[in-house]
């Protein structure tokens, strides 16, 4: 009887997992894809297609040569499959046709417009979510950036990184690779060699960016990798809130996504970076899904600077990402708020690094892991207090919730303290969902499914509250959907 019930439940889980990834469609659009494989010629070809200056080509080549000397890291608590880097195409341009055929470069293939509409990301400014400017990236190319002109009135630069290389080469050259050098890790080297598009943001001194800036990433083409690169520079006394969203079609094979995000925060400046990551997680059997291998780091260079990472991670077959902060400026403040949900066969190894170098620096880490199905969910974090970082403070709290007996929840925090005035506190708990709470909800007539959604949302509330309004609503829905069918 019980076993039978389980069978039915599993069936349900499967149908949910298959049905609920509502962004799994593909777009029929002519896409120019270069030959599969990776070698120096490919690196040169990407650079040439983008019409890049020589210094950037040299940067790519150095990164590529370094990458060749490195091996894929194995320390994460994930089963990263052997990736055949020669079976991937490193450049896919869905706008190629419109560029050739269209009257003006601004004209976009209606199929692409439709795709982003379907994803809820309208690219026509009149339809836009209130107060949000969007840079839409499909595969290797930025499709469109909205509200560019309006922002430029304030001196704010918001465009694709390819455009920035053309129009603001000095800024890009000054900051690119200054936060995440290509030697940082294997995937950072790979990205630096082949990165395609991504967003560039520059907020000039004493400017409060009047709208949320947002980039939407979409992988469409088959057998391609996405290697986006985002660079945000927030100059003295300025503020920006930046959002990142991502989806991909359902495909049987893994898709590789190896991105770099670099953020520079100057004196008295503040950056908020929010991510809702909903890459295709693979099917209920663990087939397909995006390999999300990302290096994100912020450099709090200025005094009194502030950086806050908020992430809601529900997608990807494998997530390997540690949005980090280097607290260089005195009195700088860094925050990391994370909710990571894994279901079915997903594996996530995610967390942060807080490197305290300046005096009176403060960091906060709040991580909520939720594991269901047969998934593995790990928090990995480092708090380092350097010798000069007097009066550094860190508080970390990492909680894990287990929704099923076949999943795993793990916590691997590292604390390296080299200063006797530091106060560092770390706490972590792991437990299963509170059955009394479930029962209480049931008694009030709320189904178990719904109750799990409610409780998990409550559990993740501290983090969700940090998201900008529209994103928070979206993230809440996403949490419930990702977990449907996990408890019965």
């Amino acid at each position: 009887m019980r076993e039978e019930g389980k069978e039915v439940k599993n069936e349900f889980v499967r149908s949910v997992a298959e049905k609920k990834y509502e962004f799994g469609f593909t777009t029929e659009v002519h896409t120019e894809i270069i030959e599969k494989g990776l070698n120096e010629e490919v690196v040169r070809l990407i650079s040439e297609k983008k019409g890049e200056p020589d210094w950037l080509l040299q940067f790519r080549l150095e990164a590529y040569r370094h990458w060749l000397t490195q091996a894929q890291p194995t320390w994460g608590h994930v089963h990263l499959p052997e990736i055949d880097y020669q079976a991937i195409s490193y450049y896919a341009d869905p706008t190629a046709k419109s560029k050739k055929g269209a009257q003006s470069a601004e004209e976009i293939d209606p199929e692409l417009m439709k795709t982003f509409d379907k994803l809820g990301i309208p690219l026509e400014e009149r339809l836009a979510l209130s107060g949000t400017a969007v840079d839409a990236v499909m595969d290797s190319v930025s499709v469109k950036t909205t509200f560019k002109e309006k922002l430029s009135e304030k001196g704010i630069i918001f465009c694709s990184i390819s455009e920035a290389v053309k129009n603001h080469p000095d800024l890009v050259r000054q900051y690119l690779g200054s936060v995440v050098p290509y030697r940082d890790n294997y995937f950072a080297a790979l990205n630096s060699a082949v990165f395609s598009d991504g967003s560039f943001v520059y907020i000039p001194k004493n400017t409060r960016c009047p709208m949320e800036l947002s980039t939407y990433f979409r992988i469409n083409a088959r057998n391609t990798g996405q290697f986006e690169r985002t660079l945000i520079v927030c100059d003295e006394g300025s503020y920006v809130s930046y959002l990142e969203g991502c989806t991909a079609p359902m495909r049987d094979e893994n898709q590789l996504h190896a991105a770099i995000v670099e953020i520079v925060v100057m004196d008295n400046a503040e950056v908020k970076y929010s991510t809702v990551q909903n890459w295709y997680p693979g099917d209920a059997e663990g087939k397909g899904g995006v390999l999300n291998l990302v290096t994100k780091r912020g450099d709090l260079r200025g005094v009194n600077s502030k950086l806050s990472w908020t992430q809601v991670e529900t997608g990807s077959a494998i997530t390997w990402k540690y949005p980090s902060c280097v607290l260089r400026g005195d009195n700088s403040v860094a925050e990391f708020y994370s909710v990571a949900v894994t279901n079915n066969h997903q594996e996530a190894d995610t967390g942060t690094k807080m490197i305290h170098l300046g005096k009176n620096t403060r960091s906060t880490i709040i991580s909520k892991g939720i594991s269901a199905g047969k998934s593995q969910n790990s928090y990995r974090g480092l708090v380092r207090v350097g010798k000069q970082a007097d009066n550094a403070r860190n508080y970390s709290s990492c909680d894990s919730l287990l929704l099923g007996s076949q999943c795993g929840a793990h916590t691997f925090p590292y604390m390296d303290i080299h200063n006797n005035t530091a106060t560092v506190e770390h706490e972590a708990t792991t437990s299963k969902i509170n059955e009394d709470q479930l029962f209480y909800c049931n008694q009030r007539g709320i189904s178990t499914e719904e109750a799990v959604g409610l409780i998990v949302n409550g559990y993740a509330k501290d983090v969700l509250n940090k998201l900008p309004m529209e994103f928070a609503v979206e993230a809440q829905k996403l949490l419930s959907v990702s977990l449907e069918g996990t408890v019965g």
Partner: protein
Amino acid sequence: MRSEQQYIELYHEVSDLIKSRSCEVMNSVRDEAFETFRRMGFPTRKVERYRYTDVDAAFAPNYGISLSPLTVKPSAYIYNIENAPIDVSPYYHQIADPLDAITALNTALVHDALLVHVPKNQQVADPIVVDNWLRGTAATMMNRRILIVMEQGAEATIIMGDHAADKQQFLTTQVIEVYCHDGARLDLYETEETTPLCSRFSNVYIHAGRDCSVKHNSITLFNGQTRNLCDVYLRGEHSEVTLNGCVIGGGTQHIDNNTLIRHEVPNCASTQLYKYVVDDKAVGAFAGKILVEKDAQKTTSQETNANLCASTDARIYTQPMLEIYADDVKCAHGSTVGVMDEAALFYMRQRGIPETEARTLLKNAFMGQVIDQIKFEPLRQKLYVKVEKRFRGELDKCEDCRLCK
């Protein structure tokens, strides 16, 4: 040349001599252990469990190996392994991790072993005391091996102490294998009071059957470089294990505790409390993992590591880990690195207590929470005194004053 080479050569030179002085059960695993060591060499800091200790450097000096026989004072329950009252082959080198380089090296080089055996349902009232005195006229390496077998329902307290009698460089490797059969209760205390010239590499492996209660307390009062590993395998239901540690570091001392508690079955409880006070240029490291296997439901586990970093050059590394594959569990860990409570200091000073005295009182209070856990009253009282003396800088002075800064 990396340090393992000299031990490989040493083995080739002396293995026949060691074998001739040793017994069959120890010789039967010796060559294989050596082969493992030869193949793996010493772990680098890239090996996760050795990231806080430079093993290669610790083994680099040219030590003479001590092959003198164990002196076992005739007493109940303690035996030279050669005179064991039981067949030790199901125990010797069975629970120890054969792939740990230190364990492998110890197994290859150790010629003599001590057995503590407590028969079925025997409740030993007085503690069993094992004192290790390091003696030598030249830099010496000691390899120590201890087997503790607690039969069903046996109860005992074992107190082990490391002391250095001579002002000499000593390198100790130690492997302790503890087998607690169903219903056994064991309190195992290890205190280290050596000198800054001493290096200690200790690996303790504990097997617990059903309904066992095992406590292990590791107290590092004075040392040079210490690395303690403690692995616990909970293999019977309804057992509880407690690992406590108290570390006081000063000078250039280095103390690295590494624990793993493996919950293999349901309904067990584990608790860990490790406290460190590090001063001067000392380094304190703690890495503890709680691993709950897939079917180990109803596990409860609590791990706490609290540290006081008392000088600008002292360093603390802490790494509390949870790896959990069962859902019906309650596991938590907490780690803190902190400064002394300024408000408490001020309160005490307002009452006229001089600042240095107030700091000593607070350090004592901080450590007291670990010493409080020691069940054996005379040892507890002795340690309160020793810990206080240590904080007052008297312990090292009275015992070996010329050696300390």
